[in-house]
C-alpha cells in the first residue's frame, strides 16, 4: 500500500527560530495518527503544512503521493476534495445556516441536484447525531459541541479518505468528548478513514490512536504505538504520559499496567 501522507526532510523556520528540523512522517491508509507535543512544538504548524496552508522552509510534503509544492493547481485541487478538515473552533461559515454549511462543498461540485443535496445533508446530520430541526439554525445560535459535530459533518460530506482533526475534543465536556470520540471511532471503522489529529486530551489520544507521533526538540522523537511511545525515556514523554493525569488515562488500557509499577512513584 502507498502512504497517504509523506513528509520528508521538512524544515520550518521563523527568522532565527527553528520549529522543525529535518522532520519525517509517513501515514499509511486506515491509520489513526495523533500528533502530540508541548505548546509551541509546531504540531499545528505541521498540520497546516500538510494541508498546504503554510509553506515549509525546506522539504517536501506529499499527500496521496502528490507533492503539494510544485504541483499544478488542478492536481492540488483534486487532493483538496479527498480530505476533510475539522478546525479547532469548527470554522463554520457564520453567514450560512447549518444546512448551507454542510451543503456548500456538495453544491461546489455542481454534480448533484438540490433534492440529492438535501437528503445528503440530512444523512450527515444523522451520522453526527444532530437533530434535523437544527438544520435551519445559524452557527451563532449553537453550542460548542454542536458546532464541532456540524463541522465534522461538513468535513465528511465529500466522503473524504483522509480526515484532519485539530483538537477534536477541546472545549467539550467529558460526556460530549466521550461521545465525540465514539463517533470518530465508528466513522473510522465504517468508512475506513485515515485520520490525523492534533490533541492534548490523553483520553482521546489513548482511545483513538493507532500511532502516536511525539514532536519535541524540533523533530519526531517517537513515531509508533502507545506502548512504544511510553517506552522512550524523554522528559516530555515522562511528563505527558506518565504524570498523574497520564497514568489515569493509561490505566484504562490493558497490558500497560506494569508502567504504573515502574514509573508511578
Amino acid at each position: 500500500m502507498n502512504p497517504v501522507i509523506e513528509v520528508a526532510g521538512l524544515w520550518t523556520q521563523f527568522g532565527d527560530h527553528i520549529v522543525h528540523k529535518d522532520l519525517n512522517l509517513t501515514v499509511m491508509p486506515g491509520e489513526v495518527v495523533s500528533l502530540v507535543g508541548g505548546s509551541g512544538s509546531g504540531k499545528t504548524t505541521l498540520m497546516r503544512q500538510i494541508l498546504g496552508l503554510e509553506q515549509p522552509s525546506r522539504g517536501t510534503v506529499k499527500v496521496f503521493g502528490i507533492p503539494l509544492q510544485g504541483s499544478s493547481a488542478e492536481l492540488v485541487h483534486k487532493i483538496r476534495k479527498r480530505w476533510g478538515v475539522l478546525f479547532q473552533e469548527g470554522a463554520l461559515y457564520s453567514a450560512l445556516s447549518v444546512f448551507d454549511n454542510i451543503a456548500l462543498p456538495l453544491r461546489e461540485l455542481r454534480a448533484f441536484d438540490e433534492d440529492f443535496i438535501s437528503d445528503m445533508v440530512m444523512l450527515k446530520l444523522d451520522m453526527v447525531d444532530i437533530e434535523r430541526r437544527h438544520a435551519a439554525k445559524m452557527p451563532s445560535d449553537l453550542s460548542g459541541g454542536m458546532i464541532k459535530r456540524i463541522a465534522l459533518a461538513r468535513a465528511l460530506v465529500l466522503e473524504p479518505e483522509l480526515v484532519f482533526l485539530d483538537e477534536p475534543t477541546a472545549g467539550l465536556d467529558p460526556d460530549r468528548s466521550e461521545s465525540f470520540v465514539k463517533l470518530i471511532r465508528s466513522l473510522h471503522e465504517t468508512l475506513n478513514l485515515t485520520v490525523v489529529m492534533v490533541t492534548h486530551d490523553l483520553d482521546t489520544l489513548v482511545s483513538l490512536s493507532d500511532k502516536i507521533a511525539v514532536l519535541a526538540e524540533q523533530k519526531l522523537i517517537v513515531y509508533g504505538s502507545l506502548g512504544e511511545a511510553i517506552a522512550v525515556k524523554h522528559p516530555f514523554i515522562l511528563n505527558f504520559f506518565l504524570g498523574e493525569r497520564g497514568l489515569r488515562a493509561l490505566s484504562a488500557v490493558n497490558g500497560l499496567d506494569h508502567l504504573r509499577l515502574n514509573n508511578g512513584n
Binding site: P29, I66, A111, D113, D115, D126, E159
Partner: protein, 381 residues
C-alpha cells in the same frame, strides 16, 4: 501513486440481465463513490430512475467495487427511498444503506406567511425605537461617566484620548488635504466661468470663502472622517465583541464606556474642528490658485480680500459644527459597534450601517445648523 481510480477499479456501470424466471435484473458494477460519480451523477441518476420504474425488477449490487454514501444515496433516491423487494448486496456495503433506512422524513416546510409586510413594518419600527433607545442610553451613560471623570480627573482615559486624537486627526491630515484641495480647485474653476460672464470676477472671493468655510469644509471633513474613522471604530468594537474582549472588560469591572467610547467621542470632538480648519484652509488655497489661473486674481489679493468677504463668526460656526459632527460620528460608530453580534456577517452589516448613518446624521445636523444660524454671519453691513 494511488490514484482515484486505480486500474483495477472500474467506472460505475449498469448492466441489464434476465433471471431464470424471466424477470429483469439490474446489475451495478464498478466504483460508485464520489470520485467516480462526480462527473456522471446526472446520467446515472436518469438511468437508474428509468430502471426503478419497473417494480418487479431485481437488483444486484454485489459486483460494486466501491461504495460510499453518495453512491448509496443516488441509488436509494432512484428506488423511491425504500428497498426493492429483490436485492443482492455485499455485506460490507450494507452499512451505507442501513444508515439511509433509519432516516426519518424531512421536517415539513414552514407555512406561507401572509402578514409578512405588516410584520416587516413592525419589525422596522421596533428596530428604529431600539436604536434610538440605545443611543439615548449611551449618551446617558457617557454623561454619568463624564461627571465621575470631572470629580476624579486623574482617573481619566487621557492616554486613550491622545492616541485617538492621533489616529482620527493627525493620520487624516493627508487625505483631507488632498480632497479639500481638489474640491477648492474644481469649485473655483466652475464659479469663475459663471462670474466672468457677469463681469463679477472679484466675487469669487465671497463665493469660495463663504461656501468653503461655512459649508463645504465642515461637511467634506466630516464625511471623510465618518468613512475613515467611523468605520474603524465600529469594526474595532465589533471585533472586540466577537472575541469577547468587551465581556472581559466588563467582568474586570472596567466600564467600556470610559475606556473605549468616551475617549473616541472626546478625541473626535477635539480633532474634528481642527481638521475642518485644515481642510477649509487647503481648499481655499486650491481655490485661490485656480482663481489666479482663471480670472487673474493673485493669490495674495485673494487672501487679503477674504476677511472682508467672510465675517469671522463663520469660522466659529464651522468650529462649532466640527465639535458636533465629531461627537455625532463617534457616538453613532460606537453605538453600531456595540450592537454587533458575535458573527462575521453582523460585523459587516454593522460597519456599513454605521458609516451610512453617521454621514446621514452629519448632513441632518448640518441642515439644522443652517436653519438655526440662518441670519448669523451672512448679512453684510
Amino acid at each position: 501513486m494511488q490514484q482515484p481510480t486505480a486500474p483495477s477499479v472500474q467506472d460505475p456501470g449498469v448492466r441489464q440481465a434476465s433471471a431464470a424466471d424471466g424477470s429483469q435484473i439490474a446489475v451495478l458494477t464498478g466504483a460508485w463513490d464520489i470520485r467516480a460519480l462526480e462527473s456522471r451523477a446526472r446520467t446515472l441518476q436518469a438511468l437508474l430512475r428509468k430502471l426503478a420504474s419497473d417494480p418487479g425488477r431485481q437488483w444486484d449490487l454485489s459486483p460494486i467495487q466501491r461504495l460510499d454514501h453518495i453512491g448509496a444515496l443516488l441509488i436509494w433516491q432512484a428506488w423511491g427511498k425504500r428497498r426493492p423487494t429483490q436485492l443482492a448486496i455485499a455485506q460490507a456495503h450494507e452499512v451505507f444503506f442501513s444508515n439511509l433506512d433509519s432516516k426519518a422524513a424531512a421536517p415539513p416546510a414552514a407555512p406561507p406567511d401572509y402578514l409578512r409586510l405588516v410584520r416587516a413594518l413592525g419589525a422596522a419600527t421596533l428596530l428604529a425605537v431600539e436604536h434610538l433607545r440605545g443611543i439615548i442610553q449611551l449618551v446617558g451613560q457617557i454623561l454619568i461617566d463624564s461627571f465621575v471623570l470631572v470629580r476624579h480627573p486623574l482617573r481619566g482615559p487621557w492616554r486613550e484620548i491622545s492616541a485617538s486624537v492621533f489616529r482620527v486627526g493627525t493620520q487624516a491630515l493627508g487625505i483631507t488635504a488632498l480632497v479639500g484641495f481638489l474640491i477648492g480647485v474644481v469649485l473655483s474653476y466652475l464659479s469663475a466661468e459663471q462670474l466672468k460672464a457677469f463681469g463679477a470676477n472679484i466675487f469669487i472671493i465671497n463665493l469660495l470663502g463663504m461656501g468653503i468655510i461655512r459649508e463645504l469644509g465642515p461637511v467634506i471633513a466630516a464625511v471623510l472622517v465618518a468613512g475613515r474613522s467611523g468605520s474603524a471604530i465600529t469594526a474595532q468594537l465589533g471585533v472586540m465583541r466577537v472575541t469577547e474582549e468587551l465581556d472581559a472588560l466588563s467582568v474586570m469591572g472596567i466600564p467600556h464606556t470610559v475606556r473605549l467610547i468616551l475617549p473616541k467621542i472626546v478625541a473626535l470632538a477635539l480633532a474634528m474642528p481642527l481638521l475642518i480648519l485644515w481642510t477649509s484652509g487647503i481648499a481655499l488655497i486650491g481655490g485661490a490658485i485656480a482663481a489666479n489661473a482663471q480670472l487673474g486674481i493673485s493669490v495674495h489679493s485673494f487672501f487679503i480680500g477674504l476677511p472682508g468677504a467672510v465675517p469671522t463668526v463663520n469660522l466659529w460656526l464651522a468650529m462649532g459644527k466640527g465639535v458636533v459632527f465629531g461627537a455625532l460620528i463617534a457616538l453613532v460608530a460606537c453605538h453600531f459597534g456595540l450592537r454587533v453580534q458575535p458573527n462575521t456577517e453582523s460585523l459587516g452589516i454593522g460597519t456599513t450601517n454605521s458609516v451610512v448613518s453617521s454621514i446621514t446624521a452629519v448632513i441632518v445636523a448640518d441642515a439644522v445648523f443652517a436653519v438655526i444660524f440662518s441670519d448669523v454671519g451672512i448679512s453684510f453691513s
